[in-house]
């Protein structure tokens, strides 16, 4: 305290109570969190047990009774955009591999509906890609693109709101099982790193792709990009690796991973002289 007066306990409590508890004060955070929720709840909502199926989809649930309702529309549109932007790459990837998510799920008994979209470590390891909890099938051919489908902007036809179907029932959703999204990020990158270390660079593509789709700006995005460079280089896709490395250096100039990326780049040019032109 700058003054010599010590605040009383009551004053301190008043100070804490004055910390805003309305969404308005945290609108940026709310938007970000809502966008992430749209991602983390979407698979369950699409593929989980449908709610009381007879009730008609009562028009549009009014998004929120916020006092000054400005948070609501903003959040709604953010979530809508993200939900759809999320769906597009997933479905697109499904088409590419001939195994659309919904289709794939539909063919499998919905035993694992409650499983979080990131499979537990054991089921993400390469060779287990047919595990039904995985959202994407591994690329079968070498020419399928390693990078995620571009996050296309979708003209929004759907009405408001995030996913909110009734997935609550039994709930295997103990927090430890859920883990934080950081844990989910970590798992994906661990899988990729392990694959690469075992000389299975091809298998590393899928988790990297999933990470890029679900956490484009996640806490571990930097690590993902660095790892992607190494994986592409290991696959001999030198032009892509070099391009990715360049982007990496621009985006994370002071990265801890910069030396790794740089040496990868050097090993490529050492091998080929110059990055090969894209086929």
């Amino acid at each position: 305290m700058t003054n010599r007066e010590q605040p009383s306990v009551d004053e301190l409590l008043a100070a804490l109570r004055s910390v805003p508890s309305d969404g308005q004060a945290y609108v940026d955070s709310a938007t970000r969190v809502q966008a992430r929720l749209a991602i983390s709840t979407a698979p369950l909502a699409v593929l989980g047990t449908p709610p009381a199926a007879s009730s008609p989809p009562a028009a549009v649930s009014p998004l929120s009774p916020l006092p000054a309702a400005s948070l609501a529309p903003r959040v709604a549109s953010a979530s809508k955009a993200v939900v759809l932007a999320w769906l597009v790459p997933v479905f697109a990837a499904g088409v590419v591999t001939g195994l659309g998510t919904a289709h794939f799920r539909a063919q499998n008994p919905p035993v694992n509906e409650r499983v979080p979209w990131v499979a537990p470590r054991a089921s993400v390891v390469p060779n287990a890609v047919t595990e039904p909890v995985l959202e994407l099938e591994a690329p079968r051919s070498n020419d399928s693109p390693p990078t995620p489908a571009p996050r296309t902007k979708v003209p929004s036809a759907a009405s408001s709101g995030t996913a909110s179907s009734g997935t609550a029932s039994s709930s295997a959703a103990s927090s430890s099982e859920l883990g934080s999204s950081l844990a989910a990020e970590q798992r994906l990158l661990d899988t990729a790193r392990t694959s690469l270390a075992h000389g299975e660079a091809e298998a590393a593509l899928l988790p990297l792709e999933q990470h890029a789709t679900h956490f484009p700006n996640g806490a571990l995005a930097e690590e993902r990009e660095a790892l992607s460079v190494r994986v592409l280089a290991a696959l001999g896709r030198n032009a892509e690796a070099a391009a990715r490395a360049t982007r990496f250096m621009r985006r994370f100039p002071n990265s801890l991973f910069a030396p790794v990326v740089r040496s990868t780049l050097e090993s490529i040019s050492g091998r080929n002289g110059a990055p090969e032109p894209k086929p």
Binding site: T49, G161, G166
Partner: protein, 197 residues
Amino acid sequence: MDGSGDAPQISTSMSKSEAVARMVAPAPGGDFDAIFGAEFGYVMRTLRFLGVPVSDLEDLTHDVFLHVFRHIAEYDPARPARPWLFVFALRTARDFRVRARHRYLSSDELPEVSDQRSLPDAILMRSQAQALALRALETLSEEERAVFVALELDELSAPELSERLEVPLNTVYSRLRRARENFANAARRLALQESYR
């Protein structure tokens, strides 16, 4: 809406538009969007009070609402949302602390936070009194803090908290009493430290 939202079960014929329709269909229990819109700030603030560092606030608020989303059918709209949410926040904060224990062994000091993502730091730490009070909160034990935050700051009732936490009412009161003492002592000590810095 295309009106086809009454598609039964997960059928092989579920089209993409049906999938999207289902995602925006209303929930049977509580209205998740309404709760999110109305109580986002409350959850974030409560997590902060419960000791979650600012840098992890958004992550954990996300986690809380993910739980809420999954349990939304259990919500009774006739009762106030905050006590219900408080329990989710409490569990999430506790799990976080277990996971992060190695990072925050010395609890006397709030971790340094770099405010690169325009986190609500500025809002939460607007006054020195707030900063001091938060640091005093940090010194409470987990149990004391939970009771203190719920009863002193969130205006939950002791019987309600006792019921929600499944802790005897007397225990709630004794924790509150200890928490008040410790909070007052910590605040005094911290204020002294500050003034001689």
